[in-house]
């Protein structure tokens, strides 16, 4: 039964958070953030790279390979953060069946997969001169590799289903099951005997790194985080448009069928 157009809520009728999450309203407000975010990311990356190469010392043990950590650690952080975004979106998708939650989860997967691949590659390139090996099947590295496979599986699943609303619910369950890997990655260095060093920044007794190394690390951390936000916004916008196209094409096909 078709609803009366006047009884449907417009974005203005909704509360603040519901309005933010309304797909049509999201397209409007996110458009204003793209350019400022792009400028912010470029500026932070320029400052971060300057500090990483010109204004930070070599480590007394690792030497200059410490400069790899300024991209490795932020990439590893985003690998887990992207998954956390997908897990929260999956709850939104399952509990409230919110269409923007589906869109958010789908848009975050390729970004998370890319940063997981970067974390693994840069970790291997740091490990060879520091540990003497590119790869070791220890807890941190293996669980991060598993994370990459989970991401790739989720991306493949999104492409398998024609009905994206149904896909959203199935993939939300799989995403939440896979979320068990996030604390495993985080605590792997404490639970198992591993080559990977324990946390050296976010510790109860404070960071073990000097300020001269913390500055490039934090600047790159924010650069990567804002880059994630920017790419996530653009990717979500593309996904909303893709769903609108599918809906318009379906409607057109129905109309042609009823006419013919």
């Amino acid at each position: 039964m078709a609803q009366n157009a006047s009884s449907e809520p417009t974005p203005q009728d909704l509360g603040f958070f519901s309005r933010l999450a309304h797909p049509g309203y999201f397209l409007q407000w996110s458009a204003y953030w793209l350019k400022p975010l792009a400028i912010l990311v470029c500026a932070l990356l320029a400052i971060g790279l300057f500090y990483a190469f010109y204004n930070s010392p070599a480590d007394y043990q690792q030497g200059d390979t410490v400069r790899i950590l300024y991209i490795h650690a932020p990439a590893a952080w985003l690998s887990q953060f992207s998954y956390a975004v997908m897990a929260v979106a999956s709850i939104g998708s399952l509990v409230w069946r919110h269409p923007l939650a589906d869109v958010s989860a789908k848009a975050a997967a390729p970004i998370g997969a890319t940063f997981t691949a970067i974390a693994l590659a840069t970790g291997a390139l740091w490990g060879r001169p520091t540990w003497g090996t590119f790869w070791e099947w220890d807890g941190r590295m293996t669980s991060t590799l598993v994370m990459l496979f989970i991401y790739l599986g989720i991306i493949a699943l999104w492409r398998t289903f024609e009905d994206q609303a149904r896909a959203g619910r199935i993939i939300a369950v799989i995403t939440l099951v896979g979320a068990i890997n996030v604390p495993i990655i985080k605590f792997s260095v404490e639970w198992w005997n591993t080559l990977h060093q324990p946390a050296s920044v976010f510790r109860l007794d404070g960071p073990t790194m000097p300020m001269s190394m913390l500055i490039p690390l934090f600047v790159m951390f924010f650069a990567f985080s804002f880059l994630f936000l920017l790419l996530h916004f653009i990717s979500m916008r593309a996904e909303i448009l893709r769903r609108r196209i599918r809906s318009a094409e379906r409607r057109n096909a129905q109309r042609l069928r009823s006419q013919g």
Binding site: T65, P110, T122, L125, A248, R251
Partner: protein, 57 residues
Amino acid sequence: MIDIGQHAEYIIGAYAITGLLVGALIIWINRDYATQEKRLKDLEAKGIRRRSDEKKV
């Protein structure tokens, strides 16, 4: 350019891989957005709209 020591190839390799993968991701996401925007405009130009958009017209 500063001297990045005896392990320069690993440091340059790490930054090159990161630049390549992030660059590819940025291009792919922006291209996808541009493609969807163009497809939607083409459909609207042909008068093909979603049910909710037709109500607004």
